[in-house]
């Protein structure tokens, strides 16, 4: 079954970037600014969001998923301004989001869970069974579709999470540490899926695995202390490092070089 193009797919785009942030600040808790003055433009493609622990990656992804409200600055998703007291309904229909630790209902089967998520995302009722089947097949869980969630391994649960994120054919797909818990073979398959999705979708993948970025991303966003440190292709990232910087691969050396030059204090770890 091939998905047919809807009017929304063929309508001309009236925005330059899928994600555009200007001076974005997001406060977490009482005083911590997890995202602190971020300017970022992301278009179609797979964008790897790299950064040390605590850099604010998860907060940024949650803000992009409209779960958190921006404290200051502007954020536009698919040409719609986010924040304030506006209804995000139409925008949210076109967002896919996989949180870092996502909870699920243990007694639901894979199909029931993805169906439930499709219902929450307002996928038209007639399209739900087809969309669910497609999403489950894309993550390679077709043979497990009628198994309960609690019988699945960690990697499979992760793949169900990816399936629910893509079930509504999102225009902006936000994945927070999607490769955690996947074995090497699944990770390879997942990278292929990412490349496939990145052809017509704006995919943002937060990860701390530099090799994921090298293999699957067309664009790297390096993020530290709530600020943008670097944005460019994986090759640019590799070119930024030299042999004097720590790391096992050119990308890792570029990563440490950029972080060090940005004034990140590494600490003992």
């Amino acid at each position: 079954m091939t998905p047919t193009a809807s009017a929304a797919d063929t309508a001309p785009k009236t925005y330059a970037w899928e994600i555009r942030a200007g001076g974005l600040r997001v406060r977490v808790g009482r005083k911590k600014m997890a995202v602190d003055g971020l300017d970022l433009c992301l278009g179609i493609g797979t964008h790897g969001l790299l950064g040390p622990n605590g850099a604010g990656k998860t907060t940024l992804i949650r803000t992009l998923a409209t779960v958190l409200r921006p404290t200051e600055g502007e954020l536009e998703l698919l040409g719609t301004s986010v924040g304030g007291m506006v209804d995000h309904r139409a925008l949210r229909r076109r967002i896919g989001y996989l949180p870092q630790d996502f909870g699920y209902y243990k007694r639901f089967t894979v199909r029931e869970f993805v169906e439930y998520m499709a219902w929450l995302k307002e996928v038209p009722k007639a399209d739900v069974p087809g969309a669910v089947q497609r999403a489950v097949e894309r993550v390679g869980l077709a043979d497990r579709a009628d198994h309960r969630m609690k019988t699945l391994s960690g990697g499979m649960v992760r793949r169900v999470g990816i399936a629910q994120a893509i079930v509504n054919d999102p225009a902006v797909l936000l994945l927070d540490e999607p490769t955690a818990g996947l074995d090497p073979a699944q990770r390879l398959r997942f990278r292929e899926l990412l490349q496939e999705l990145g052809r017509d979708t704006c995919v943002v993948v937060s990860t701390h695995l530099v090799e994921d970025v090298a293999a699957a991303c067309s664009d790297v966003v390096l993020f530290a202390d709530g600020r943008l440190v670097f944005q460019g292709t994986p090759d640019d990232l590799a070119a930024a490092g030299g042999p004097e910087y720590p790391g096992d691969s050119p990308l890792e050396r570029g990563y440490s070089a950029l972080l060090r030059n940005s004034g990140q204090q590494g600490g003992t770890w």
Binding site: V67, L68, M85, D87, A90, T109, L120
Partner: protein, 276 residues
Amino acid sequence: MSTDHASMRLIDEYAVGDVTMAADTVWALEAHLETCAPCRSRLAACVATEAPGIAALVDTVRAGLEPQLDAAGRAAPSRRHRPRWVSSWLTPGMTPWLAMTVVVTLMALLLDAVASPSFFGDASPVLLIAPVLPLCGVAASWSRGLDPAHELTASTARAGLPLLLRRTTAVLVVVLPGLLVGGWLTGTMTAAQWLLPSLAFTSTALALGSVVGVTRAATGLAVAWGVVVVVPAWATGHVPLALRLVLQPDQLPGWGLLLALGIGAVIARRNAYSTL
């Protein structure tokens, strides 16, 4: 859709497959065949008469695939453990809370039957807890801590007031009939005495929820009511007179006003619910 069909000659050539057809012709013909049942049936007839070799090949492939297709077809209609509409009104996370509400109602009824009348005066315990009874369910209906899939739900299109109202309705549908039956069984209270207060408390919880979060608002209200009822009852040995007066039928306009205020506040802040 075009009413033009492929010519018989074209279909013949395609079926036999000997003559080299131009690639664009094949492409156009296949595109047409995908959408045109009459032409497909002519092709099928053609294959059967003109190209027995192909027909045999197709049959062999089908015979080989049939067992697998049957197996797949049998598995496809999923074992459905719960009807789909249930999960659109309730989350599994809410079930224990609703069960608890029902248990609390039953215990209040029991208490009503066995407690000494002097302790509660003329107020029945069911009547005293009825206003805050739906709040347990409401607290669980939109809660980060109690709903495992909350983070996922919060980013979806349905998140917001409509979903919250749906779940609140589900809570009321479970709780109110329970109270109605309870009131009728004990005969100590009329529906008017507790219905408006409990609706008023529910709407106030939702309204406050747009500011501090639904769970916090609901638990806060329930605790406040508990303090107002239980502490004086503990200290003095009987429920304060003022409280009993508050729940008398002549106080209904006050509860009605609270309900209206709550609903008004919910409507005014309807967009605040989408990012709670």
